[in-house]
Symmetry: C3
Subunit: 344 residues, 3 copies
């Protein structure tokens, strides 16, 4: 695979600077790139990394001054992602349903579906066009999967779940397991509350490996369009996660939370149940959200407080042992002053 720099500029709709005939044969990060490769710099403060880079060309922002051949665009990272697609085109899977897959009665398959061996698809499930289902995945009765969705290996989708179009579900994910609901009875045992709701995953969602999304008690656990979850995220029953939100690895949402759109929860953050997190809010890694979060705010800590306050507290904290010593000194001084006053 080879392209000239001017072909690249055309493809990403960028402005060419340098030899248009320069031949590019690969893409790489700025520190790893070798001769013949194109790299990118998205952030001005990383421009200096170009000095030691062996890349033959760079995708950078309009207005950046660089010493090597360049293609300048509005969003260098996005243009670079598109170059990766060109140099690493996804392998085309031949459509077909393997005879060693198990399809139950009433399954409806769209066009050009690929079903690998050892896949189970339950009764009356409806699988959209060009869907790919990898080995070992179990699709429950009555599940619907929209067009162009990819379900990787060993995924478990319980009965009656609805999954949109262009969704990507990574291996080991579990969708539709029972919400965690029990009632303590008089003898100390826990009576199971039937979890008879469902899960709806809207279009363009991506779910990481071993993500778990519980079905609602009644109603629906809803993951809205364009939301992306990293590995090992847990979403309890009856949550609603708004559009284009980001849940990083190992985040845990307790039951019945409402997340707005463009919310970001960083890694290992958690929430208590029944809280809402407003649009565009950000929760820092490992934080524990214990009350409603206003739109646009940034929260940190357990329990989570506004990030700016948290930062001040952290700084103060590290000086706390010293602070306590200073207080002791001060107490002695004051005692001495009191003695002197008393002696006046």
């Amino acid at each position: 695979m080879k392209m000239t720099l001017s072909e690249i500029a055309d493809l990403v709709e960028g402005k060419l600077s340098g030899d248009p005939h320069l031949e590019i044969n690969g893409v790489s990060g700025v520190e790893d790139a070798g001769p013949g490769q194109i790299t990118f710099v998205a952030d001005k403060k990383n421009l200096k990394l170009l000095e030691s880079s062996k890349a033959s060309a760079v995708i950078t922002s309009e207005g950046d001054e660089v010493k090597i051949p360049a293609v300048k665009v509005g969003n260098p990272y996005l243009a670079f992602a598109k170059m990766i697609e060109v140099f690493y085109p996804p392998s085309r899977l031949e459509p077909g349903v393997d005879s060693r897959a198990c399809l139950c009665q009433g399954v409806q398959l769209g066009r050009e579906v690929r079903v690998f061996p050892l896949v189970y698809i339950g009764e009356d499930a409806r699988i959209g066009d060009r869907v790919v289902i990898y080995p070992g995945t179990s699709v429950g009765e009555g599940v619907t999967i929209g067009d162009d969705t990819v379900v990787h290996s060993n995924v478990s989708i319980y009965d009656g779940i609805s999954i949109g179009r262009r969704v990507i579900i990574h291996s080991g994910a579990v969708i539709g397991s029972d919400g965690f609901g029990f009632i303590k009875t008089e003898d100390g045992s826990h009576y199971k509350i039937p979890q008879v709701g469902t899960v709806e995953i809207e279009d363009d969602v991506e779910l990481g490996a071993n993500v778990c999304i519980d079905r609602a008690n009644l109603g629906v656990t809803l993951i809205k369009k364009g939301t992306k979850m990293d590995n090992q995220v847990h979403v309890a029953h009856n949550n609603v996660v708004g559009e284009n939100s980001i849940l990083l690895a190992q985040v845990g949402l307790s039951g019945s939370c409402r997340l707005g759109r463009n919310v970001i929860l960083a890694g290992q953050a958690g929430t208590i149940d029944h809280i809402s997190i407003g649009d565009n809010a950000v929760v820092i890694a490992q934080s524990g959200v214990a009350q409603d979060v206003p739109p646009g705010s940034m929260m940190s800590g357990t329990p989570a407080i506004p990030h700016n306050l948290w930062k001040k507290v952290q700084l103060s904290l590290n000086r706390l042992p010293e602070t306590i010593k200073n207080i002791r000194k001060l107490e002695k001084k004051v005692d001495k002053l009191e003695d002197m006053e008393g002696s006046v």
Copy 2:
């Protein structure tokens, strides 16, 4: 499905208030309920939500005053759970062992067992009556599974594990993987300690999706009767978890802990190894338990301290930046006072 209010009152053994012939066609939470549906209020302070609810009837506590037809009981939530069971009866699975399941030599099957396609059951495993095993699940050699247990899809049960009656195991759970035990050797490598013990899951336990329970080094990792675990809980080797305990999502237990009965560990809490947590103790979400926890206590923070102290500390913490400023002011005042004294 329809029932009259008096039929409902009979079924939950409650006291009827209002039209006994009122026809109910569904159940729903107080905020989601529509006309024709029955809802519930378990907590007096939520009674006001009934004013804006469209529910036609409510299950509530004896003594509660409400303006709509009601059934009054000792435990409204429990009665409501029973109503969900009535309106959403679990689908009956036909018994049968699919020919595309793989059963090894010596497998003993109870009566009315349902084994889905693509299930693997190892040699000499014993499967009780009415057990259901969903697709993609692997049951190791010599495993025993008690009557009426349900094992969802893609569960992995290693050799020799013992599982009780009426247990529910959700998809992706792993039972009996090796405990994490290594000895550092002189060359810096880690020598694996053989993990030759087992896991015993007693009756009425429920394990959430992607839960991991390691086998003991020697002896047994024991999950006692009635304990419920939420998704992605990790239980290391040689733990003993007492009866009717609750481990919420993403909790992690290090090795050789002893949990009493009715213990609650909230989400993302963790423990160090070899500690004990007494009966009825509660550990708050994200806490890190680093020493023994007395029965009945409530612990918070990392390392976990008594919850009341932790709450006070948290309140103080948020004032810490201000506190440090105040100390500086005080120091200046004292310095000034000392100067004045000196000048007397």
Copy 3:
């Protein structure tokens, strides 16, 4: 299975103390051991546990004084592990590829391979000698697996991944899922950055149940020789984890971190992306590493600070409510002193 104490001493190359003909029929921990069994004490302060132990013999350190027959060695725990191997020899699996496994075209199998039913192996995968693959596992196209590696049930290995020799992969682990990389576009949606790199797992690595290791964006996510991961660890794209490191349960590594050799991350610890952790560094449980960690250091807290400072801070913290009271008292005293000065 029976051995005399002198046979045991020979086997572990230890020094015998007591009756060489003493017959030993089992191994057990010091508190669980019964008559006829041998136990071990690795730490001098646990020697007193021998007084109440029913063990018939003990493996202990050279120089330890004990009252029961003993075998004394340099590393008692290591010698004990070897005794477990003797008393619980691993069951030999007959080699063979089950006809109900699905092997695609071009798969190369080494000698004495065991492939269980319901395993999927993609095109051109190369499987080394004596490899064992348990039911429900999916091995992608072009994967290589080295000699003597064991892959437990329901593991998902994506296309093109490279796995070394003597690796153990526990059930539910996912290797090679897409790294989590998206670019925010102008309409608020997230554009997926193609994840076209791979994962390389070197020799002698062990991965716990439900571990997730993402493929690199470009290049490789690398787990070096001898590293051991406990259950539910998450390793994001482009990480490099050095030799003989230990990642305990539920640890999460953000993208592009560099861990040295012999690093220990305790349970539920996490890192931000693009940081490095030096050789022999230790990160305490639940800590959040937010900057580079020097070799040999021990870090705690979120954000992680040197452990000694963190300990002091924790101690101060618990006294914080009291400290704030003391400051108030002090303020009053100083106010009074100022009044008196003013009145002089």
